[in-house]
């Protein structure tokens, strides 16, 4: 196999599973160590630099990092990464003084942002410190986008959102709330150097052709519109018997909100099998915990009315069948079912809608009526218009919107400075040895078999009576410390130097998880078939080094390396060294006074 190019920024980045999986590439293990060291403010700022909304995300993030977490491969459950982020937000001091200062002297460039959701707010945060003059337009009365209008307050208290949105609004963008932009053309006609479209995916799907839909209209609501109405208090109650259609997170928020607005008998009915629902496992758990049955394999066929009033819904029962390629079809079993209800919430998906963008401006739209956007620069086919967040590639989540925002901000800055948006700045990386002394490491590398800690919940009765009462209480500091200690510090890399290796086997012998091999070279299939331990996880790279005296290679399967450092500890020549790998996505502006990439320091 070709020896690994460890100088390539992505080589070791892939080993830090969580950071790699995070769309914004938050340096997770680094902030987890800061939490363990009770340095909450620094942990918060590190997050804030990467993901802009640590307090929001610490509660609501889709957490793509957690299924990726190495700990989940070594034992059952990943580190509670997301909830540790919340700990940083909950226990930080006032960090306002450490936020970037905004220059009095502007740089003469003006940017309009359509929408005040996480994507646009990220663009604003990344551009304001450079002296851009920013105009934010949003149809809603307050900033936050779907974080405010959709994510219910029992999951995300308003105060937390206000605080983090506030950090950005304090940077001085001009806000135009309650201002729906109904024409991009008129915006283009103004003196903006660039326009960022972060208008989200605001249209909820309906079931317009289902019998009874029109007649029962008064009792049928589109989930996301209904949630927004609840958030802005236009809606304060719901019938006792509620059916929620759909299996995604919106359905889960709808059913749980319905329980709080007076719904006594609230059910979710979903087409797909329970295990294949779109909603995250924890959201389903939370719904079940609030006594909301989730009835799967049911396809709605009719809204049933009696005397002109909605009384229930009819469904066909289906069964999932899979063809040889694993493709699923839902086949009717022939059975039908009827469920009574007073009201129905339709939460079967969202789509983009751009009625306000004229189609003759030079912005190309594809066959699904979504704009053609470059996946790296987020530029549209009209060079000064950029898209990001749900508006760019359809509905995703907050952290993806943030990641888009960073890249769009870089593009806008390059564009406004007359440079090519293709010349993207490389990520900043470095490696720092962690060996302090004999047997002495800068990080805690005693890997113990501790199971994941559960987050405590508020009393159910109380929670169901108050839609504003936050359900999850967050970790206390003692638990947070223990949970933080579960992190394997995957950013502390095993770095191998073949020139120093005497092939004594000490590392291979001591390695608890049998990662290290000295063996004859071969191609990847061959090698994976004959390593000391089964090597079937191809998502995880083999670290290959040549240049050994015997002509063999060193092959390390990164899959279940514990980063315990024993290989380096037992290496007589220092051929193995544990080095902290820092990877920082370069932003349009330097946002923190404290450098992210630290010098070697005693920690732990």
């Amino acid at each position: 196999m070709r020896p690994s190019d460890i100088a390539h920024p992505e080589h070791f980045h892939k080993v830090v599973d969580c950071q790699y999986a995070c769309p914004a590439h938050t340096p997770v293990p680094q902030y987890i160590r800061l939490i363990a060291q009770q340095r909450y403010s620094e942990a918060y700022l590190l997050n804030w630099e990467s993901n802009v909304f640590p307090g929001v995300l610490g509660r609501t993030c889709d957490r793509p990092c957690e299924p990726a977490c190495r700990r989940g491969r070594v034992e059952e459950q990943p580190v509670a990464i997301c909830r540790l982020k919340r700990v940083a937000a909950d226990f930080k001091d006032d960090i306002k003084a450490q936020l970037p200062t905004i220059p009095e002297q502007k740089n003469g460039k003006k940017v309009a942002l359509v929408g005040a959701g996480p994507a646009a707010l990220t663009v604003a945060r990344d551009l304001a410190p450079l002296g851009y003059q920013l105009d934010i337009y949003d149809a809603q009365p307050k900033a936050g986008g779907f974080m405010r209008s959709q994510i219910p307050s029992f999951r995300l208290p308003e105060a937390v959102l206000d605080e983090e949105v506030g950090y950005i609004l304090d940077m001085g963008p001009v806000t135009h709330f309650n201002h729906y932009v109904d024409s991009l053309q008129s915006l283009l006609a103004q003196d903006y150097d660039a326009i960022f479209v972060g208008s989200g995916a605001p249209r909820g799907r309906d079931l317009p052709n289902l019998p009874g839909r029109q007649q029962a209209d008064a009792d049928i609501h589109i989930g996301i519109d209904w949630l927004a109405n609840v958030a802005f208090e236009h809606t304060t109650s719901i019938g006792e018997k509620v059916i929620v259609l759909g299996g995604g997170n919106t359905a889960m928020d709808c059913c749980r909100t319905a329980r709080r607005l007076g719904g006594k008998d609230v059910k979710v009915l979903v087409r797909s099998p329970f295990d294949e629902m779109k909603a995250s496992a924890w959201e389903k758990e939370d719904a079940l915990h609030e006594d909301i049955p989730i009835i799967d394999n049911h396809v709605p066929t009719e809204f049933v009315l009696e005397n002109g009033k909605l009384v229930g819904m009819r469904f066909d029962k289906v069964e999932a069948h899979y063809d040889s390629s694993g493709k699923r079809t839902l086949q009717p079993t022939g059975e039908q079912a009827f469920y009574p209800c007073d009201q129905v919430l339709v939460a079967i998906g969202q789509e983009n809608a751009f009625p306000w963008i004229e189609r003759d401006l030079g912005i190309e739209f594809d066959q699904w009526e979504t704009p053609v956007v470059d996946a790296t620069s987020f530029q549209s086919t009209l060079p000064r218009v950029f898209f990001g967040g749900d508006a760019a590639f359809g509905p995703k989540n907050v952290i993806t919107a943030v990641a888009h925002g960073h890249q769009a901000a870089i593009s806008i800055d390059l564009f406004c400075q007359g440079e090519s948006v293709l010349q993207r700045p490389a990520p900043r990386t470095n490696l720092i040895s962690q060996k302090m002394n004999i047997h002495d490491w800068t990080y805690d590398n005693g890997v113990a078999a501790d199971l994941r800690f559960a987050v405590p919940l508020a009393d159910k009765e109380q929670a169901l009576n108050d839609r504003r009462l936050e359900v999850e209480l967050g970790f206390d500091l003692a638990t947070a410390y223990q949970e933080a200690e579960r992190c394997l510090n995957c950013d502390v890399q095993t770095v191998f130097d073949a020139a120093n290796c005497i092939e004594c086997d000490a590392c291979a012998d001591v390695c608890p998880t049998s990662c290290i091999n000295f063996t004859a070279d071969g191609d990847e299939d061959d090698l994976r078939g004959r390593l000391n331990a089964p090597s079937s996880n191809r998502d995880q790279v083999l670290y290959i080094a040549d240049g050994l005296k015997t002509g063999r290679i060193m092959a390390k399967d990164e899959n279940v390396c514990l980063h315990c450092g024993l290989c380096a500890e037992r290496c007589p020549t220092g051929a193995w060294d544990m080095q902290q790998f820092n990877y920082q996505v370069t932003k349009s502006a330097e946002l923190l006074a404290v450098p992210l990439v630290p010098k070697q320091q005693r920690v732990g």
């Binding site: 805690d444 004594c504 001591v510 990662c515 037992r570 007589p572």
Partner: protein
Amino acid sequence: MSYAKSTFRHPSLQPNQLGYDKRAYEGALSTLCAGCGHDSVGAAIVQACFEANIEPHKVAKISGIGCSSKTPAYFLGKSHGFNSVHGRMPSVATGANMANRDMIYLGVSGDGDTASIGFGQFAHVNRRNLNMLYLVENNGCYGLTKGQDSATTDVGSVSKKGQANPFTAIDLCATALEMGATFVARSFSGDKAQLVPLIKAALRHPGFAFIDVLSPCVTFNNTTTSTKSYDYVRDHVAATGAIDVIPMQQEITTDYQPGSSHEVTLHDGSVVHLYKGDVDLDVTCKVSAQEAIRRHQLEGAVLTGLLYMDPQSRDFHQMINSVKGPLRDLDEAALCPGQKALDAINASFR
């Protein structure tokens, strides 16, 4: 900071036929110098016992004094152990073996422990063909006492001490052959592919099995001028064919090219397959083994692999016709056979 071994192991490693995972064969975290060859030998013993489906509690590890003799602490942590006196491992092993012949005896020693202070005991345990594996972790020096030359240091070899050794070296394999060992092999700590099957075969051998494992001392004798350094051994090694042990109960599943291997069937019906290498050697012939060792020595090469095995081996218990089971199983009737039996014995002397 931490210097402890996690209890996590590779999640998809399978247990052996007895249901034990590899951890059941491991010991405490080593305190030897990082990079010591002895640690690799320990890892090979763990691997061999795991693969050979040996019950950890059926093994007794016995050793003398030295870094090598310390190593039983770092493997088979669930087995019995006796860290005895310098050079006296054979006596302790003999006593234990006499008392309970049902255990598997694993003697671990060093070149100092065996070839100097323990040389006399070593000779006699060979002669008795005691049923055990006697394994020497041979680094050509007294590692524990800071690297003095030992009796296996080659003439002219220079360790970290800086002085060439003037004295003739003892070849432990040649000695073992001469003294009556019925299984003799040499290996290298850095070659587990060879060492692990040798340990498995030796543990199965009914009689005295001796393995001399070249096991470099990184701290005192891994110099460019030493003949027991990693590099020197690697550069001068010549190997007899690879071996494979097929226990009697097990079907032979590997296909052996006709003519490519030599089979030796053991007493219990197990078969040792020997793949023919380039070395001209008949492993069942002592003279052939002695010759091969000598020939390689003269050429400046170190011959490793299985050198000799006697398929007809009769161990000490058989030779002296001792009681069949462990002594602890003898009941009062067996131990005090009564007046009649005594009378019969007395009568036999008249």
